[in-house]
């Protein structure tokens, strides 16, 4: 049993490493209420300073885990996930088991009503032997990552690893442009989830899905869609994306024209 380990942000928020955003949010609200200095239930156990310290820890953990991008970086920095090329959901399935252990200290805070959810929090057993119980957030690259994640929507081309770009190039060979599923394929090659794409490009998830599934009736005029796709491709760092965008926009326009023609025939 690994009884000695550093606390991760997941421990601080009392959630599992696979917790959804919703769970993280609920746990955060509950913790904030609990460690608020006005809470009667803290009486005699903690003074205001200690409560404030706990509060600060909770805030910090929430800031990272509530941001998909920062969270992925954090997961990598604590060794929770070693691969970065797959989408979040797939990565959890293939995550190697041995690095996980049951934390004997963390309880299940989510069991507010006692329907006995005795699930245990899976966290990483840290390889470092430091006694510091402050949540793991040490690497400077990680700090940079956090700063990046708090930037405004991505405007410039993201840098992707050469392998990823090669994969994208290989995938684009011989493909007839104009189909929305190409964008989905590229997104999956880059290991970017729909949520992340929405967060970073500020394109709504409905539009992302409509583009990827060719649901033209849900899309705005092609001029807007072109703008969306430019941010989309720039964020994925797709090489020579302009032809893909033009082809898709043309298909959208064609669809629109044919629809209008149909309407005019019917109205006649």
């Amino acid at each position: 049993m690994a009884t000695h380990m550093q606390q991760t942000y997941y421990d601080v928020l009392n959630v599992g490493s696979k917790a959804s955003r919703q769970e993280i949010r609920e746990s955060y609200v509950r913790l904030k209420q609990t460690f608020s200095t006005t809470n009667q239930a803290l009486y005699s156990l903690m003074n205001d300073d200690e409560a404030a310290q706990m509060n600060a820890q909770v805030e910090e953990a929430f800031r990272i885990l509530n941001d998909d991008h920062a969270r992925r970086g954090y997961d990598r920095s604590i060794g929770l996930s070693t691969e970065s090329e797959q989408p979040l959901t797939q990565r959890h399935q293939v995550r190697p088991e041995p690095i996980l252990s049951t934390d004997p200290f963390s309880g299940t805070a989510s069991a507010s009503s006692v329907t006995v959810t005795l699930a245990r929090t899976n966290i990483v057993s840290s390889t470092s032997s430091s006694q510091d119980t402050k949540p793991v957030s040490n690497s400077s690259s990680f700090a940079a990552l956090v700063r990046n994640s708090q930037m405004k929507p991505a405007r410039s081309t993201t840098s992707r690893s050469p392998e990823t770009i090669e994969k994208m190039q290989a995938a684009l060979v011989g493909i007839e442009p104009g189909d929305g599923s190409i964008f989905k394929m590229l997104r999956e090659i880059a290991g970017v989830s729909e949520d992340e794409m929405q967060d970073r490009t500020k394109i709504s998830i409905e539009y992302i899905r409509s583009i990827e599934n060719n649901v033209f009736e849900r899309l705005p005029r092609s001029i807007f869609v072109k703008g969306f796709l430019r941010s989309y491709c720039r964020y994925l760092a797709v090489p020579e994306y302009e032809s893909l965008i033009t082809a898709f926009a043309k298909r959208l326009d064609d669809w629109l024209i044919s629809k209008e023609r149909k309407i005019s025939i019917i109205s006649k």
Binding site: T3, T34, M46, F105, V114
Partner: protein, 365 residues
């Protein structure tokens, strides 16, 4: 469970409106983690054990007895056989909550005077399925308890064998106020210890003192049962420092630190802690903020003490509590349709859920 009690409880369940509470309880045998936290002088008999529930909370007047009596009745209505023991030795008044006069024979006859057997001091109550052992009000209890922890050994033996002799499903121990040794010993024996608090600073403060003392006792018991006194001394030193200087990180952090030096001992302490559940009940709630104290305490007990805490529910402030006492009737019988009665049902449901799940987990690890 024997065939006859099976049929009996099944019949009770059919007649009863609270039958939805009933859940089959798998046989419970002594588990290592539970044994580690027991007082070292207590011997556990072979065979099936009853589920032990203890109701404590440190401060007086927070509703320990009213909860014990009514929880026992709710469990009995659901078809379980319940034995309630008044362990507020010297100040016993649990019989009054059941609306019965002071029984002729009490615990004092069995323990202090030795003139009655354990079976003779079991008193029936007005609720079918609930039996009461009244605590004596004799002043001699003080002297007797001062003789040391062995003074109550016959009671321990009888309680642990109550499943075998009387087919008892639940033993509910109604503890007195304070953190006396025998109180903490009984609380540490509970599969589910219930801490009753009022939404008042005095009660909350005492509840935390009570829980700290409880942890100290667990630490002691584990050390004595496993012969790891050195480790226990170091842990005590750290815990004392935390108590005096305060640390937001709490006891969990102390255990974490010591786990490097004494991995075996700390893992035993953690096992003992994990084999017990702690229930939190907030009594006399008047507002939503009062109720939220319960879930906050659940979280704090987990984060600070590392205990497996669960908020079992709240009991609202209601005049029917004192009215039923004046009427000399059990609250549930006197005001069966009150909101308070419904909230007691919810607490009982949570108790059954917790205890049933706990034993399944321990039987099939």
């Amino acid at each position: 469970m024997t065939m006859s009690t099976d049929l009996k409880s099944a019949a009770t369940v059919r007649q009863n409106p609270s039958a939805r509470l009933h859940m089959a309880l798998p046989p419970l045998h002594c588990q290592r983690g539970w044994l580690l936290g027991l007082p070292p002088h207590v011997q556990v008999p072979a065979g099936e054990l009853p589920r032990m529930l203890a109701v404590g909370g440190g401060k007086g007047g927070v509703g320990k007895s009213i909860l014990s009596a009514n929880l026992a009745s709710k469990l009995a209505q659901a078809g379980y056989r319940v034995l309630v023991v008044d362990l507020d030795l010297g100040c016993a008044n649990l019989h009054t909550h059941f609306g019965i006069p002071k029984p002729r024979f009490t615990l004092a006859n069995h323990i202090l005077f030795g003139d009655r057997s354990f079976a003779e001091i079991i008193t029936p109550t007005t609720i079918a399925g609930v039996a009461l052992i009244a605590g004596g009000q004799e002043a001699a209890w003080g002297r007797h308890l001062a003789r040391g922890p062995e003074a109550l050994l016959p009671l321990w033996d009888a309680l642990l064998k109550s499943r075998q002799y009387f087919q008892v499903d639940f033993v509910i121990m109604d503890l007195g106020a304070g953190t006396q040794r025998h109180t903490m010993d009984f609380f540490s024996a509970a599969n589910l210890g219930i801490a009753t608090v009022l939404p008042e600073p005095t009660s909350i403060e005492n509840a935390y003192v009570f829980l700290k003392t409880y942890l100290w006792h667990l630490v002691d018991h584990v050390a004595m049962r496993t012969g790891q006194q050195d480790a226990a001394n170091d842990l005590r030193a750290i815990l004392t420092k935390i108590s005096q200087e305060g640390s937001g990180k709490g006891y969990v952090d102390a255990l974490r630190q010591l786990s490097v030096a004494y991995p075996a001992y700390i893992s035993d302490v953690l096992l003992a802690m994990r084999s017990r559940n702690l229930g939190v009940v907030v009594n006399q709630t008047r507002s939503q903020a009062d109720i939220e104290i319960g879930s906050s305490m659940e979280l704090i007990c987990r984060r600070y003490f590392g205990l497996q805490a669960f908020f079992l529910g709240d009991l609202n402030y209601d005049d029917c509590a004192w009215k039923s006492l004046r009427n000399r009737r059990l609250l549930l019988s006197d005001f069966p349709h009150s909101i308070l009665s419904r909230r007691l049902t919810r607490v009982s449901e949570n108790v059954v859920n917790l205890v049933a799940n706990q034993s399944q987990a321990s039987v099939n690890p």
